[in-house]
């Protein structure tokens, strides 16, 4: 019987800060102190604290330690575990000026959060199916397979109002109903875990923290539409997500939760992992399908849409990781429960990643309808170095630009759409007032220029041309005509590009031109002055 549990966050972020060495030392020193039978070390996903080094949580006290180094392990063992005295210097404080919260749930940054998708992340061992099951895992699948018909599952999903979390916010239940109506067999469920959008790492942390939730969501989708095979398409660079999801699939098979005749219901479903090879465009659903088919990941013409003609020409549902992780909860607790969260038109929670010039970067899950000000200042603790807020970009590098006038706008799909932005992938890039907007836009365009798949001329040539114009402007040799040309080229691309990449690339450029045109003009005249 273990008296104490120590959770060590082993996610991609803490690994980059030395978590592996701390874990090894912890295990070794617990053995040396003969505590291995009393203290259990559990590796878990992200607990939601970033950039603060290696994170440990000691239960049952619920004390969070951050910045733990190999040298600190002995002290934690001798002081906290043996003598029961918390090592104050390592205890996590949410706001530097305030006393440390006893447990992290009491910390202000967690106060506004509601964890649905992330309910298990950082709390359970993602490599243990037993822990997932102990937290209601696979109960929704059991319920659906034994008490619901496929059309009931789709009806519940429609009623919940869940909109896809991959960026386009298409209603999930509706998408499923299209595939369900198709006669062709086999059908496929694809989990889109490509996540190439800069600033986005929510899907990675969901997969690292709670892979079974994604598997269960895929199986439910499979049951609803009549598919028996699923693919997880995942970035090749996401080593930890890949190994965790692989192991989880294996465990689910061993427990009869994947494979033939699940729960004796006659429903069969299995999942295979497909690794990407480095291409941002492969997040676009039809490019992703091409990539699974072993080809260059170039987008297809739509229609037909994947729910009718998708992978290997068969009906295919492509859903984002976060979308799928919502599904088991909706089926288990019901659409009405889901609708108590968020707003009327944007139900549920949203997982955001806060990055850029922000004191407390990281991953949060909040109800839809929260304001930018709450996210940046209450949860993110504002901007470092006493600098001011210049702009925020919502939804990754293809996302729209928000400025101080939007700080109190409730973040919902419809509100952002109205101002020509979007929630997109949920990445929130905060930019302080010391940054140069022209350089920032140049950075955006460099990205698109690099990632354009080259299939259509407008995107391939257009991004290159935009980059030339920006280089000229930023070097002080530009003119007002260059700014106008940039604007008209961007507008043309938005209207005419073949796929979502080329259509979205101009969004942040036009946004920056709209709100910060004077900065571009100033860059041009800086050169003119120098020449005079």
């Amino acid at each position: 019987m273990h008296r104490i549990h120590i959770l060590i966050a082993m996610d991609s972020h803490t690994l980059a800060q030395g978590a592996r060495a701390v874990r090894d030392t912890l295990i070794k020193e617990l053995e040396m102190a003969s505590l291995q039978n009393e203290v259990k070390v559990i590796e878990t996903g992200s607990v939601g604290i970033y950039n603060k080094g290696v994170v440990l949580v000691v239960f049952p006290d619920g004390v969070y330690y951050t910045g733990v180094k190999v040298e600190d392990v002995a002290e934690i063992i001798s002081e906290h575990l043996i003598k029961g005295r918390v090592v104050e210097r390592l205890r996590y404080t949410d706001v530097p000026s305030e006393p440390a919260p006893k447990a992290v749930g009491e910390a202000p940054r967690f106060g506004k959060q509601v964890r649905v998708v992330l309910k298990n992340a950082g709390r359970i061992d993602p490599d243990s199916i037993e822990e997932y099951i102990a937290n209601d895992g696979y109960e929704a699948l059991g319920k659906a397979l034994t008490q619901m018909k496929p059309e009931d599952v789709i009806a519940e999903m429609k009623k919940s109002g869940l909109q896809g979390r991959g960026g386009a916010f298409f209603p999930t239940g509706l998408k499923w109903s299209f595939a369900a109506a198709e006669k062709a067999q086999p059908k496929y469920i694809v989990c889109n875990a490509d996540e190439g959008e800069p600033g986005t790492f929510k899907d990675r942390l969901i997969l690292e923290g709670d892979p079974h939730a994604v598997i269960e969501g895929m199986a439910l989708a499979g049951y609803a539409v009549g598919a028996s095979m699923g693919y997880v398409y995942i970035r090749g660079e996401y080593k930890m997500s890949i190994s965790r999801i692989r192991r989880a699939i294996e465990q689910a098979r061993q427990h009869g939760l994947l494979g033939n005749n699940i729960f004796g219901s006659g429903f069969s479903f299995d999942i295979e992992v497909r690794e990407g090879a480095g291409a941002y465009i492969c997040g676009e659903e039809t490019a992703l399908i091409e990539s699974i088919e072993g080809k260059r990941g170039e987008p297809r013409d739509k229609p037909p849409f994947p729910p009718s003609v998708g992978l290997w020409g068969k009906p295919t549902i492509v859903n984002n990781v976060e979308t799928l992780a919502n599904v088991p909860q909706i089926i288990l607790k019901g659409a009405d429960w889901f609708r108590t969260l968020g707003t009327e038109k944007s139900p549920g929670t949203k997982v955001f990643t806060m990055v850029g010039n922000i004191n407390n970067p990281g991953l949060i899950e909040v109800p839809m309808g929260i304001t930018l000000r709450e996210i940046i200042y209450d949860i993110g603790h504002g901007i470092p170095g006493g600098k001011g807020f210049k702009l925020a970009q919502m939804g990754g590098t293809t996302g729209g630009i928000l400025t101080a006038e939007h700080l109190d706008l409730p973040m919902t799909v419809e509100n952002l759409r109205e101002i020509g932005a979007g929630l997109g992938s949920g990445a929130l890039l905060v930019v302080d007032d010391s940054q140069d907007v022209v350089e920032l836009v140049k950075n955006f365009v460099e990205f698109f220029n690099h990632e354009s798949c080259g299939k259509c001329t407008l995107c391939r040539e257009g991004n290159g041309r935009l980059l030339q114009l920006l280089e000229r402007i930023s070097s002080g040799h530009g003119s007002i005509e260059d700014i106008d040309l940039m604007e008209s080229l961007a507008t043309t691309m938005m209207r005419g590009a073949f796929c979502g990449l080329g259509q979205a690339a101009p969004i942040p450029i036009l946004g920056c031109l709209k709100y910060f045109r004077q900065d571009f003009v100033a860059a041009c005249s800086a050169g003119a002055k120098a020449a005079a």
Binding site: H13, N51, G199, G278, G356, P361
Partner: protein, 158 residues
């Protein structure tokens, strides 16, 4: 002389997988270091996929390379979240330390320098990846110290 029979073995190991070309190329690259014309021709022969199509795939994805590279591949992120946290200064320092530009290899064959797209580690930006290992919270000094370590290890192994 490279043993091209390995290509056939790799292709064979994927016979149960539908459309496995990307996996095959990954394994082949691991085996041979890069995807030379000779190797790709053999893949075409073994898979019966036209060479032109295979070449198209090999040049499309950034994890594939059709040119030989250094022993360590340094992939730097310069996407917006890293950029606003100072990745440009880090990158400039790395270029200066290695004495090469982007997409070049040091004369001793130790390092190849490349960009990577966002690695999803933006909460510890700026970030770089050396081979399979990731490093966050970089400063110009820290980045150089990390590369020095690789160099030392390389020299002592040599």
């Amino acid at each position: 002389m490279q043993n091209l029979d390995r290509v056939d073995e790799i292709v064979k190991s994927y016979q149960d997988v539908k459309t496995p070309l990307i996996y095959i190329l990954k394994d082949v690259q691991k085996e041979f270091g890069y995807l030379s014309e000779e190797v790709l021709t053999r893949v075409a022969l073994a898979t019966k996929i036209p060479l032109s199509e295979i070449y198209g795939v090999a040049t499309f994805y950034s994890l594939f390379t059709i040119k030989p590279k250094g022993r360590h591949i340094v992939r730097c992120c310069n996407n917006a979240p890293c950029f606003v946290n100072g990745s440009k200064e880090v990158l400039d320092k790395i270029k200066e330390y290695l004495g090469i530009e982007m997409n070049e290899t040091t004369p001793d064959g130790m390092f190849t320098l490349e960009f990577t797209s966002c690695l999803g580690l933006c909460a510890v930006a700026p970030v770089m990846m050396v081979d399979d290992e990731v490093y966050g919270n970089l400063t110009p000094e820290k980045a150089v110290a990390i590369l020095k370590d690789y160099k030392m290890k390389g020299l002592s192994n040599a």
